[in-house]
């Protein structure tokens, strides 16, 4: 049951109680002096704990947004649930089943209008990155990785249960299955690569770029073509009735793009900033 629930869409959420947390208008956030920002847990390079410190691109964007509102950021570090609708419930509009309050804004929400259709209690805010999938590979073998043929004989590491995993298990008519090494935790694929256990690792672009940036073993980054590869924009989400807060976040995000702040934040994690189209 659990596996299937992971893929459920557009199903009523959360049981009988659907009390929505009250939206705080912009003025209330500003006068309170705190912007509550929801970020994902254990999600390099976006948001992760290192020692007692919360680090990452989303963490810094949250801090910059808070600063621009004259506030400090307070983070709700969210454990991802089975699907994004659950995450929006826990992180934006209701809070967790154990009673933790949701954030004022959640970062790292795919900027896809369908989410608003499926979740009438949230409103999307401006996109700040275009994300896709990438592979880090031994530079000498890069050309064979482009069509995945390398992995009919050599090993490739991937984080379990991700789209990258499904792509590897599907590619070349399922012929790679015996050479896919599954790891749990985003740093582990790079470790397997550094240790020489695998010839490549595959995952979300930002993660791969970040890990290559910090890796001791030289790696080329390639983008193998596959039907299932997706490119998507990442933005934020607020409660549906937080209209003035959403507008302010959009304004500040645009200003951070223009000033080079976003580019700087991404670069400090070894990730290329890819500006989303401004048509939303």
């Amino acid at each position: 049951m659990r596996a299937f629930r992971a893929l459920l869409l557009m199903i009523a959420l959360g049981g009988a109680t659907t009390t929505t947390a009250d939206a705080r208008p912009l003025e209330a956030v500003k006068s309170g002096g705190v912007l509550r920002v929801t970020v994902y847990r254990d999600y390099r390079p976006w948001s992760w704990q290192e020692g007692s410190r919360l680090k990452g691109i989303d963490v810094e964007i949250g801090a910059a947004l808070a600063k621009s509102l004259g506030c400090r950021a307070d983070y709700l570090v969210l454990r991802p649930d089975d699907n994004l609708n659950d995450d929006l419930r826990n992180g934006v509009w209701r809070g967790s089943i154990l009673g933790d309050a949701p954030g004022d804004v959640m970062l790292h929400v795919p900027n896809d209008a369908r989410l608003e259709d499926d979740n009438d209690k949230i409103k999307l805010t401006g996109a700040y990155q275009v994300e896709s999938y990438a592979m880090a590979v031994d530079p000498a073998k890069a050309s064979q990785a482009e069509d995945f043929s390398l992995f009919e004989k050599e090993k490739v590491a991937v984080d379990l249960g991700t789209l990258a995993d499904i792509i590897l298990l599907t590619a070349r008519d399922h012929k790679l299955i015996d050479h896919v090494v599954h790891v749990r935790g985003e740093g582990k694929a790079a470790q397997a690569f550094e240790n020489g256990e695998v010839s490549a690792f595959y995952g979300e672009s930002a993660l791969v770029e970040h890990l290559v940036h910090t890796s001791a073993r030289p790696a080329a980054i390639v983008h193998p073509a596959h039907r299932l590869v997706r490119t998507f924009a990442i933005g934020g989400a607020v409660k549906a009735d937080s209209v003035d807060l959403a507008d302010e976040i959009d304004r500040q995000m645009t200003a951070m793009a223009a000033s080079g702040e976003l580019k700087r934040i991404f670069a400090s994690y070894g990730v290329e900033w890819r500006q989303p189209a401004q048509d939303r």
Binding site: R2, A3, F4, A12, W46, S96, R114, V180
Partner: protein, 588 residues
């Protein structure tokens, strides 16, 4: 001071008045199904028959049943209450939602103690914050928590004696099943548990711990290729690596043992069911994927796997194989066979030889099954190829994909709610649900902030007027003798008694008593909220008491669509209800 003295006196009085004040022994546990004065095991006996030998309440007088007492779990934590209660030493013990445990005076319902597990931030229970009950042995009571801890409390005071971590809740592990106590020669009584969890990488295993210390004695992984442990040393591998799995997928292949197990003293075997394989998309994992969606038998002395039987090889429908394995004696062709019965998610009722796991028979217990034509003489399903969900990796980009209607739905012909077996009528009473699911591929899905490949599921009733159906299943002729339909899905479990009765609760809030022979409804009482827990019966001061936890919740209300219409307006709750005959009609 005066109050303290009075309190001690009342506890002393109770202890003396009860016939079973002594610590729970092996003999007590082994005799649980035959001694109605206490209920020590989930399943009302280790074999899990849920049959009470009591006949004081029977087909002739059950219509007189009235409430004896009711107890509120209190607080704001009113979610699904799925636990069966235990009775010992004049007390009723029951777990509640959010990993709580209550001890009540069995006669009056007065609270004796309450234990609230402190749950950490960030737990992510799969299917509501339920718990399915406790186990009792010696002077301790045991239960597991949503953050995957196993707790032992002093049953008299509710004070914690020890706590052991089953696994890391941060890695997705949880626990909600009632632990199982099994007496062994090698290591005394052991406390046996499975694992549950909702994330990728959670792998099923069965573990046994010392009842006194909680120290791990053995561990048996359910997936072929993984190695067991005995007292910290590696033992045998379960099956052979890569015989039924490709690549390294057996290391993370699912098979969670989340519903707990039963034990059969005749064969000295522990029976567990195992969950569906991961990932859900069957096209990504060629092979039978043993032992997911299976029943397995384990030697409690050393944790060795004795047999396995896979109900859904290469599962593609999310048919967990966790449903309970109930031991019974099958009288067929003049012989008595040591058998087990199990009603699978996949809609078929299986009878197996419990000494060796050999297939005897399987027939549908729900209607209009689409995924398989039948179960063949070798025990393997004869698949309907068009009934398997398509490979979502083959779907056209940006399109929704072909829709398949599959019966049963992934919530199963029967889910977690336990069935009962009556040695008197020789029938199983199966709380079944008639529902299917539309399955379609979703071109764009997101998970943890990233794109993902998904499928959409929409559960639908098969019939207009009901989803739930309590079925009397004859394991000799493999036919349904009678059934009683229920509008909402059944989620509560069943008990049968020597009084010729079948008791079960409904989401509509009724605890009902049926004639075990005919299914005729003889009594019902509405407890004011949905019932999703199994009832029990026990004897006290010469009278028969019937008890059940009440409180709507569990996995069903997490689903919307057409199914939700059947339980619209049912309120949540959290209480324990007890019934008995009024004094003047107590005599037969």
């Amino acid at each position: 001071m005066k109050r303290t003295i009075l309190a001690s006196v009342s506890i002393l009085g109770m202890a003396m008045g009860g016939a079973f004040a002594a610590p729970v022994t092996d003999a007590d546990i082994l005799n649980d199904g035959k001694n109605p004065k206490q209920i020590l095991t989930n399943g009302m006996g280790l074999q899990g028959q849920r049959f009470s030998v009591l006949d004081k309440v029977n087909t002739k007088n059950v219509q007189n049943l009235v409430p004896a007492w009711s107890f509120s779990f209190g607080g704001e934590k009113q979610r699904g209450q799925e636990a069966q209660a235990l009775v010992h030493d004049g007390m009723v013990f029951v777990t509640g939602s959010y990993s709580r445990l209550y001890a009540m005076d069995a006669k009056t319902g007065e609270k004796i103690w309450e234990y609230n597990a402190r749950l950490p931030e960030g737990i992510m229970p799969c299917c509501d914050v339920i718990n399915r009950g406790a186990a009792i042995y010696g002077d301790k009571i045991y239960f597991s928590t949503l953050d995957a801890q196993l707790l032992a409390l002093d049953y008299k005071t509710g004070k914690k004696v020890w706590q052991k971590t089953i696994d890391d809740f941060k890695a997705g592990y949880s626990n909600s099943a009632a632990p199982l106590i099994v007496p062994t020669k090698a290591n005394g009584a052991l406390i046996v548990t499975g694992v549950s969890g909702g994330e990728f990488g959670v792998v099923g295993r069965v573990e046994a711990r010392d009842v006194n210390t909680g120290d791990l004695v053995w561990s048996r992984p359910v997936l072929e290729g993984l190695v067991g442990q005995y007292k910290g040393q590696d033992t045998t591998m379960t099956g052979k690596a890569n015989e039924t799995w490709a690549g390294d997928m057996y290391k993370t292949g699912g098979g969670a043992t989340w519903l707990g197990g039963t034990y059969d003293p005749d064969t000295h075997l522990v029976f567990f069911g195992t969950g569906n394989p991961a990932p859900w998309n069957s096209w990504l994992r060629p092979g039978d994927n043993k032992w997911t969606a299976s029943r397995i038998a384990i030697d409690p002395e050393n944790g060795e796997l004795k047999w396995g039987f896979q109900t859904t090889p290469h599962d593609g429908w999310d048919f967990d194989g966790v449903n309970e394995v109930v031991s019974f004696d099958l009288q067929k062709d003049g012989k008595t066979i040591k058998a087990v019965g199990t009603a699978d998610r996949n809609g078929f009722f299986y009878v197996l030889d419990r000494t060796n796991g050999k297939f005897i028979a399987a027939k549908p217990f729900v209607e209009k099954i689409t995924w398989a034509k039948e179960i063949g003489p070798d025990g393997r399903p004869v698949y309907n190829d068009e009934g398997r969900p398509g490979d979502p990796t083959k779907s056209e980009d940006g399109k929704k994909g072909k829709e398949v209607f599959s019966v049963p739905s992934f919530l199963g012909g029967k889910n977690q709610m336990p069935m009962a077996y009556s040695p008197q009528t020789k029938m199983f009473y199966v709380p079944a649900n008639e529902w299917g699911m539309d399955i379609h591929n979703e071109p764009v899905v997101y998970k943890k902030g990233a794109a993902y490949l998904g499928a959409g599921f929409n559960i639908k009733p098969v019939f207009d007027d009901h989803i739930g159906a309590l079925k009397a299943f004859d394991p000799v002729t493999m036919t349904i003798k009678w059934q009683v339909n229920n509008k909402a899905p059944l989620w509560g479990g069943v008990m049968t008694t020597a009084g010729g009765l079948v008791f079960y609760g409904t989401p509509e809030g009724y605890l009902k008593a049926l004639d075990a022979k005919t299914g005729k409804e003889l009594w019902k009482f509405n407890v004011g909220t949905g019932i999703v827990a199994p009832p029990i019966a026990w004897e006290q001061d010469g009278e028969e008491y019937i008890g059940v936890a009440a409180g709507w919740g569990g996995a069903v209300p997490l689903w919307g669509g057409e199914v939700a219409k059947t339980f619209k307006g049912i309120n949540q709750g959290g209480s324990y209800w007890v019934f008995k005959l009024p004094p003047k009609s107590a005599a037969n």
